[in-house]
Structures are given as C-alpha cells and as structure tokens.
C-alpha cells in the first residue's frame, strides 16, 4: 500500500495542482485498456464492473459496490487503487469508528508547542471504505460530507482533499443486524452503484488456480501515476456533450420525477453525474462526443441507488430493491424519445 505523506501542511493538500491538460485520445485508450487488463488479472470475468469502476474514477465520482461478502468487492477496490500509482487509504468501518478516525485530528505537538493536524485516511487519492454501513450515521456523514465538498474542516481550519479524490465504498446488503444502511441523501453522493455478482464457473475455476500460490494483488503493478490520472480525467471532461444529449439526460431525470412508481426521482446532482459519467464512458469508447447510448448504458448504474420506489415495489433489501428499480429505469429509458439534431433548431 502506498505510504501517506509523513508531514501534512495545514490548509494545503498535496495535490492541489492546476487542472491537468487532456492527453491524446489514443494514449487515453491505451492506458485505460491497460488498467482494465491489469485489474482483470485479479478479478476474473467482471469486465463490466471494472469498466464502470474505471468510468467512475475518470469521471471524478465515487463508487458504491454492493454485494454479498466474498465476491471481490474489496478486491476490486484495491485492484483499482493499486493500478494507479497514487495515495490510497483504507478504512474498515466498524460501529465504534469515530468521525475523527476518518478526517484526522489536531494534536498538540510538544516539541513545536502548537497544535498539529494529523490528517486522517480520507486524505488520499483513492479511499477504500470497507463495509460502510457498519459505522454509525455520524461517522458515515463525516466521510460523505468530505466526499461531496472535497475538503475537511477540523478545529476551524479547512483542509483540501487530494485531487483526484475517489471513494470506493463497499456495502453488504444482507447483513442487517448492527448496520446502518446509508440514507438516501447520502447514497446520492455516490456516482454509481454496482454489484459484483457471482463469477461464472470458468472464472471461478480460474480464480482457484491463480490464488493457489500467492495473492495476485501483490504482483499487480501500477499502470499510471497521479499526474497521468489527472490528465486522463481532464481528457474525459473535455468530451463534448451536445444539447441534444443534455436534453436527453434531463428528459430521463424528469421522467423519474414524474413516474408513478417512484416516490423519489433523480436529483439534479444525479443528472449532472449521469452526464459526467457518460462523458467518461464516451472517452473510454474513443469518442470525442457523448451519444445517447452512453446515457442509456449508465442510467441504471448511476440512477438506481438514488431512487425510492413508491408502495410495495419488490422486496427492499438494505433500503432499496435494486432489481425492480432497474426495471423501472429500463422502462423509463425505453419510453423517453431520443432527441436528434436539435442543434440546428435552437
């Protein structure tokens, strides 16, 4: 695991550099393909999940991985972190974890005779939050607020977080006792939620073989550094989203708000993140512009954990019923007309 800087200057994040320049799309594709194949060496047969994880990383979002224990949630998070040569920290959430254990504390330095800020694990480029639903709501909030604001305020002083900053949190949906499922408002801060799902038999057999001798994670070599990651993020951000595509994203979000089967629709933040994720996906596809297909492909991943079904839709596990919500979103997407060529008219 990467080491955290020993000394931390107050009010100054390590990576508050000016916005990086985009890189050529060919280089971008090359690097992203390498990252995906690197992660695939440890997570077998989960290309889709890996793609989305990378998309979220490049779209400067946060990822929520939700699934039963033992399917590789943490492994994915760690592999993703490992493939990028940047600061990574991991927080194991427990009921007794305190906010300060995340954000950091000011301690009195006897030698300097002044308070010194000891940054918590949140000061890293990639933060892995394991079993986030085990912590108390108070502690959860500390993380989630820093996720949104990308800064931490301790004892009246504000400290900027790293750039890029991505939280990859995992959550166990079936373990109910002693857990605090994330409230809706906080789920909204994650750009995307994915489930790992069980591997197919072939992948599972392959996994048994590779794990027989050593942990493949140890063999994993970083593909890019933080600088290159920033450059890749800039590339994704530079992808063009036409007014038609914007209209389409908004139309889908609006439709979720009107839908009779949904009690809570998508927030404007959701729309924003949907478009941002779509840009990253377009870039990963080697395009300079977003297609409605990008929006379609990401709608379920980006929206489903934010929506609350009305009435008795499906069985709610851990506060939401993923499958049924996915169906509702699929239906909405299938009903929303795709705008075409509106640019000329506007």
């Amino acid at each position: 695991m990467n080491s955290f800087p020993a000394k931390f200057e107050p009010g100054h994040a390590e990576v508050s550099l000016p916005v990086a320049d985009p890189m050529p799309i060919e280089r971008f594709l090359e690097l992203s393909a390498e990252i995906v194949s690197t992660i695939e060496t440890v997570i077998d047969g989960k290309r889709e999940a890996i793609q989305i994880a990378l998309t979220v990383l490049l779209a400067e979002g946060h990822l929520l991985i939700e699934d039963v224990p033992g399917v590789g949630k943490t492994m994915l998070a760690r592999a993703l972190a490992r493939s990028v040569d940047c600061s990574v920290s991991r927080i194991q959430f427990t009921p007794d974890l305190l906010p300060a254990d995340i954000t950091g504390v000011s301690v009195f330095n006897q030698s300097d005779r002044e308070f010194e800020f000891k940054p918590g694990p949140v000061f890293a480029n990639i933060v892995i939050g394991d079993e986030i639903n085990r912590a108390s709501p108070k502690t959860q909030s500390a993380l989630l607020e820093s996720m949104e604001e990308r800064q931490v305020t301790v004892d009246g002083k504000t400290y900027l977080l790293a750039n890029p900053f991505t939280v990859v949190a995992t959550q166990n949906p079936i373990e109910m006792e002693g857990t605090y499922a994330l409230p809706e408002a906080q789920r909204d801060r994650f750009m995307a939620r994915i489930s790992m799902g069980y591997p197919d038999p072939a992948s599972e057999i392959e996994m048994l073989r590779t794990r027989a001798t050593s942990s493949p994670l140890d063999a994993l070599k970083p593909v890019i550094g933080a600088t290159e990651l920033r450059s890749m993020i800039a590339t994704a951000r530079a992808v063009y989203a036409s007014p038609a595509v914007e209209q389409y994203a908004v139309a889908i979000a609006q439709a979720t708000r009107r839908d009779s089967e949904l009690r809570l629709g998508a927030s404007p933040r959701a729309t924003l993140q949907l478009l941002r994720a779509a840009k990253a996906r377009a870039a990963l596809d080697g395009r300079e512009f977003v297609l409605p297909d990008d929006i379609n492909a990401l709608a379920i991943t980006v929206l489903s954990h934010r929506l609350i079904p009305s009435g008795r839709v499906g069985v709610t596990v851990g506060g939401y019923s993923g499958e049924t919500l996915a169906e509702i979103i699929s239906r909405i997407v299938a009903e929303t007309p795709v705008p075409l060529g509106a640019r000329h008219g506007d």
């Binding site: 036409s242 139309a251 300079e288 512009f289 297609l291 795709v338 640019r343 000329h344 008219g345």
Partner: protein
C-alpha cells in the same frame, strides 16, 4: 425546431391568404368546366359563392386565431352555414343555424338532384337539386383543398380534389369535355405548387399532372361499362321496381349506353314487337297498366283468345324463342297475341283482357321460353269495314283533357271517313316530318312524363319520344271515338342472324324500350300503330286477302321497297326506318349521365382515395429529403425518415431508440437477405455515423446533406427489398406513421 415554429408563425399571415386565393381561383376554374354538361351559368355563381365563403372563412379564421387547423374547421362550419342559407334558410334558426329539418331538406334535395340527373339529358338544366349538389360538392372539395394545402402543408395534393372536379365532364362524355378549362385549371394548380417557393416538388407535381390526365382521359375509356344487373334497379331493371313502367321509360331511354336486354329467334317474316304490358286506364291524369289479380287457372300453356278477333280475319302462326338477358321486370316480353308459352321456370300467369303475362313472384331476367303467337293480318278492306266501337269503355275520353287536343285531332283527320282512315291519318301526321324524336326536349322543357299534362306541350313543341307519341295518339283516338290503349315493350331490335330455316335472330337492347298505341276495331281486335317517327315500323295491311305481300323493312340496311297501294290512305310516307336498330348513344342529343359513368367515377374516386395516403407519405418523404439536401437539420430529418419508413414496413422502430440501437435493429432486419441488402447495410452504418456526428458531435460547420440523402436513399431501398411484397404493399397503401399522424399519435420529434 423552434425556428420551424417561428417560420410557421411568420408565414401564417400573407402566404396562407395567398394560398387561399389561389385555391379559390383553381376551384372556380375547375368547376366552370361543368358548363359542358349543364345549361346556362347561374349555377356557377352559386358554386362560386359557396367556395368563396368557405375559403374566406378559413383565411379569416387563420389570420385571427393563428392556428392552421382552426382555419379548416372554420371552413367546414362556413360551408355548412352557406348551404343552409342558400337552400334551407326557412328551416334554420335565424335563417342560418341548421336544424334537424334542415338536414331533412338537404336529404330531399339530394334525392331531387339524383332524380333530375336520372331524368335529364345533356346538357342538363341545373335544377335546385342539382345546384344544391354542386354547392355541396364544391363546399366539401373546398374544405378538403384547404385542409391538405394549408393545414397539412401539402399544396401539391390539392390537385386531387381538383382532378375530381375536372374529371366529371370527361366521365359524362367519355372525352375531354373542355380542354381550355382543363388547361386553365392546370395553370392555377401549378401556381399553387409554385407558390411554396423552394418546396416545389417537381416529381410530385408531374406525377399529379399525369394522374390527372390519366384520370380525365384514359380511365373512362378503359373502364368496362358497368353491367346493368337485375338487382341494381338501374337501366332496364327499372321496370321491376315500378308499378307503372311508363313512368321511367324516358330515363331508361336516355341511358346512353344500352345493355343487352334480350334476344329472340322468330319465324315471323318481320321482327316482333315484344309487349310487356298495356296501359288502358287512367289514374287521375296518368296512364295506368291494367294489373288484374292473377288467376292460377290462367296458365301460360293456354292463353285466352285475343279480344275482338273473329275467324274472318286471316291469321298465321308464329313461333318465337326468347332469351332474356339483363332485362328485369314482372311482365314477360311476348308478341301479341300469344297463345302458348313453354319453358318458363318462374310462376307466370296471363292477365284477363290484356293477355299480358305477369308474375307476382319472379322476374323475367334469365328466362328462356318459346312463345306461340298469332300474326293477325286483316286486310284494309276488313279494317275499313269495321263498325264503330265508340261505346267501348276504352274509348272514353279521360276527364280534364284540354279541349285543344280533341280539336287538333279533328283537324288532322278531316276528310277521313272510317275509324281506320282516321287512325292512319293520325299516324301519318305524327310520322310525316312535322314531329321530331327527342328524349331531351321533354326533359328540358318540363314535360318529361306520360300523363295528360304532357300532351299539350308536346303538341306545341312537336318534339318528344315514344311515350309522348303513343299516349297522345291514344288520347286523340279516343276523342275520335276509337278505343285505344298504350302498349309498353320492346322494338323488334337488331337482326343479327338469319338461319337456314328462315328463322331470324334479333337482339334487343335497353334502348329498344318502346311505347306504342293500340286501337280497337270491331271484329279484328287490337291493332298496333306506330306514330313515333324514326322508330319501329308501321303496321302494314294488304288491301285484299292474298293481293299484297307483306314485305316490311326491319331496319335501314335491309329495307326494301314496300309495295302498298297508293290509292289508299295507308300509303303513308315512309321514313327511314332505323329506330329499331339505332343505338341511342349515336344520337348526340340523347347523351346523358350514364349509370356506368357514375360507376367509373366511383371507381376512380376509390382509387384516388386508396392512393392518397401513399401520395401524402411520398410527399412527406420528398420534403424531408429536400431539407436534408438543403442542410436544414439533416441528421434529424434523415433519421426521422429512416425511423418512419422502418415503422411503415413493420419494424418496431421507436423514438426512444438511439441511432445506434435503431441501426442495430435495422441491420438485423436486413440480415436475412444479405445479397440484396449488402449495400444498404453498408449505407446504414455510414448514415448512422453521419447522423451521430451531426446530431451529437462537436459543433463544426460541415455540410453533408447530399451524402446523407444519398445514403438514406440506399438504406430505404434496402429496407423495402428486405420486406415481403405483401407487407410492402400494405406499407405503401396504409403507412402506419401516417395513420398515427392522422390519429394524433404524433411522432413529432422532441423539441
């Protein structure tokens, strides 16, 4: 899209009014083509008034309400109101607002119009009914033109209603009635199409023009005449529908296209006058057929003896075999007097007194039967010698007869001594040249009937058809004390074949329907006379038994010199005897609105109706392709056209599909026929890339309309090829996207 809206709002002002004016001009010109089938021009002003009100209402409504469809609604309402004001003001509230009785009035006007059309020959007099019909049609057509040209923005389609109007005279006359009007209308139509500026679609204009010319010239010529079936109630079949056959004889005669009524083979040296029934009584002022109750014992195997015939008169037996074709009716066409009939399938009985054979349950259509009848050949001497029968009830002069009729009869027969001489004098007077045969004059001059009222106008104008001659001579004979009645039946018809055994085959058509008087002579019975000039032939009587041969011409071509003693009054001047064979259609004056033309018109109207959706769909496609080529939102229009064509062909192409998804769907649709659609599949990929780049790509000026339009054309062709012919046909005739449009399930793009 908002620029489209803006363009619409702007153009709502001037150009729509201009278009309304052009439509008015075109329709006014088109309708004036009817002058060839209608007399005078007053009807035109009524029609113009109607269309003027309709188009003005539409234009004003659009100007103030700023909604295109409201203009068409206003046009519809205005059309209804103007019809009410013109034709049914007294039934409407405040003379304007239609009520239930207004609709009843409209209904009766329709009926009157149909009646007038059926009764009149060309050019027809525009009766109130016909005027109503014209105004009604013009109003409807004006609304239709307004709807397609302004509301639906497809001015080229306004040519279809125009075409219908222009085609009417052509249908009636089977030729282009008025090329000048046609050209003027065509010019007006071109103005309509041109006024759309850059939206001209030459192909549409040309094809509409071709369709118009085809419709006006070719279709009537190639369509077969509609057969007058027994159940249609038209043509000869009218006899089946009415109790009094003479009523509709005029209109039956005016059928310009005659149908084969029947054919017969006879041993008679001349053709036979086949009689259906006789009219011998008066119901008010109208001749009525004697229709005694049929008696079961009056079997056609043994028909009663002809009244009045005595054994002193020479008779010979004639055998006739009749085959009825299209004629229908409850009286059987038979020679008079018949003795036996065999071969009938229906239940027929003979009437007492008239010897007519009638059935209350069946029609003559399709019957084949043999008749044995008598050829009564009294000599002139016997006829001259016949005593007066003025005490016979059928010699009674009908009440209410204008005395001028009796006076005329008296002056005509002045000098004649016997009843027979008087009868011949009357016949000679009618056939002598003063009178002309016309089915048209009575209709246009208002005495198109058979009652007593028509006699005086007929005697004044000296023009009419068989009914007038027959009834007038019969009534005049009665004023002279000769019993008379009117027979209705068929002329001998056209000799088509002479067999080895001297039997002759005749064909009788609906235009051979005829009426003639029969006069009664004591000791001889009923004798046929022929007062109608140029029709049939006069009865010929030998001057003494065995002295003269009876060589009677049956038609002009076979007419031979007839030897008749010149010293007797029988030597009436012979007129060219062609009536039995002349088709009425040959006479220009007898042209009329034929039933089959209505049929053809109906067929064309149905064809046009069927073709309309396809034409509209093609117009929409062309408009889109034009826009694509002009670079006006090419991606949007190209993709919409692709999607809608796919939907027309049965692909579930949704608006919610992204270009990528739809092209995958269509690629799968093309896949089963890879050979024929390989190009289309390639073009589809190219088109998708172009559309995606144009719709979603980084903004940059690049014109690719031409390429897009070309690729689109290839893809559309491929899609059609990949579709089974039946589905393709269905998609052309009833494009689902058009149905959606009409039903308001608009497939409008998201704006």
């Amino acid at each position: 899209m908002s620029s489209t809206t803006a363009r619409r709002t702007v153009s709502l002002g001037g150009s729509d009014i201009q278009m309304s004016a052009l439509l008015l001009l075109a329709l006014a010109l088109a309708i004036s083509g009817l002058h060839s089938v209608l007399e005078d021009i007053t009807w035109w002003f009524g029609a113009f008034g109607t269309m003027f009100v309709v188009f003005t209402a539409a234009a004003v409504a659009r100007y103030y309400l700023k909604q295109r469809w409201l203009g068409t609604v206003a046009a519809l309402v205005a059309g209804l109101l103007v019809l009410t004001v013109f034709f049914a003001a007294n039934t409407a509230i405040l003379g304007v607002i239609p009520t239930g009785s207004t609709l009843e009035r409209f209904g009766s006007l329709f009926a009157a119009a149909n009646d007038s059309i059926a009764r009149q020959s060309l050019p027809a007099f525009a009766t109130t009914g016909i005027q109503f019909l014209i105004c009604f049609a013009v109003g409807g057509i004006a609304v239709a033109m307004d709807a397609v040209a302004i509301w639906l923005r497809a001015p080229a389609l306004a040519g279809i209603p125009l075409l219908v109007v222009v085609a009417v005279p052509s249908f009636v006359l089977s030729s282009l009635a008025d090329g000048f009007t046609f050209e003027l209308t065509a010019i007006a139509y071109l103005l309509i199409v041109l006024s759309r500026g850059r939206r001209i679609q030459p192909a549409v204009a040309v094809s509409a023009g071709v369709v118009a010319v085809l419709g006006a010239l070719v279709v009537p010529a190639i369509l077969p005449p509609v057969a007058l079936g027994g159940t249609t109630g038209s043509g000869v079949g009218v006899l089946a529908e009415t109790i009094n056959p003479i009523i509709d004889l005029g209109s039956d005669l005016r059928q310009s296209d005659s149908t084969a009524a029947l054919s017969y083979t006879t041993t008679s040296s001349t053709g036979e006058y086949l009689r259906l029934t006789t009219l011998d009584t008066f119901q008010g002022k109208q001749w009525e057929p004697a229709t005694p109750k049929l008696k079961a014992r009056n079997s056609v195997k043994s028909i009663g003896a002809p009244p009045g015939l005595t054994t002193a008169i020479k008779v010979s037996n004639v055998s006739t075999s009749v085959q009825v074709a299209e004629a229908t009716g409850s009286w059987l066409p038979i020679p008079y007097p018949s003795q036996r009939i065999s071969g009938l399938t229906g239940k027929w009985s003979w009437e007492d007194g008239t010897l007519s054979v009638r059935s209350d349950t069946t029609s003559m259509q399709g019957e084949r039967y043999s008749v044995s009848s008598l050829d009564v050949e009294p000599t002139i001497q016997q006829l001259e010698a016949a005593g007066s029968s003025s005490n016979n009830p059928l010699a009674k002069v009908p009440a209410g007869l204008d005395p001028i009729v009796a006076a005329t009869a008296k002056s005509v027969v002045a000098g004649a001594k016997t009843d027979f001489d008087k009868a011949v004098a009357l016949q000679t007077w009618f056939r002598g040249g003063d009178f002309t045969y016309s089915t048209r004059t009575p209709a246009t001059s208002g005495y198109d009937g058979s009652g007593l009222d028509v006699i005086v106008p007929f005697l004044k104008s000296k023009s009419g058809y068989c009914v007038h001659f027959a009834t007038t001579m019969a009534v005049m004979a009665r004023t002279l004390g000769i019993p008379s009645r009117v027979a209705v039946g068929f002329l001998p018809g056209k000799l088509t074949h002479v067999g080895k055994d001297k039997t002759k085959v005749y064909e009788v058509s609906s235009s051979n329907l005829h009426a003639w008087p029969e006069l009664y002579f004591k000791g001889i019975g009923w004798v046929r006379f022929e007062p109608t000039p140029s029709k049939g032939f006069e009865p010929n009587f030998p001057s003494a038994p065995g002295e003269a041969t009876t060589i009677l011409p049956t038609d002009g071509s076979t007419s031979a010199a007839t030897s008749v003693p010149t010293s007797t009054p029988v030597a009436a001047p012979k007129l060219p005897d062609q009536g039995g064979t002349t088709q009425h259609a040959a006479a220009p004056t007898s042209t009329t609105l034929p039933g089959s033309s209505y049929g053809a018109l109906g067929v064309l109207a149905v064809l046009l109706l069927i073709a309309t959706p396809a034409v509209i769909r093609i117009t929409i496609r062309r408009r889109r392709v034009d826009r694509i080529r002009q670079g006006i939102d090419p991606a949007g229009w190209a993709w919409q056209e692709l999607r809608e064509t796919a939907r027309d062909l049965g692909v579930d192409a949704r608006e919610s599909s992204t270009p990528n998804e739809l092209s995958a769907q269509l690629a799968a649709y093309l896949a089963p026929a890879p050979k024929r659609t390989a190009k289309a599949a390639e073009a589809l990929a190219v088109l998708r890339a172009l559309v995606e780049d144009d719709a979603y790509g980084v903004p940059a000026y690049r014109y690719n309309g031409e390429e897009m339009a070309d690729q689109l054309a290839i893809v559309l062709r491929g899609l059609r090829r990949a579709t089974p012919p039946a589905n393709r046909f269905a998609a052309t005739v009833v494009p689902p996207t058009l149905v959606d449009r009409v039903l308001g399930r608009a497939t409008a793009r998201v704006a």
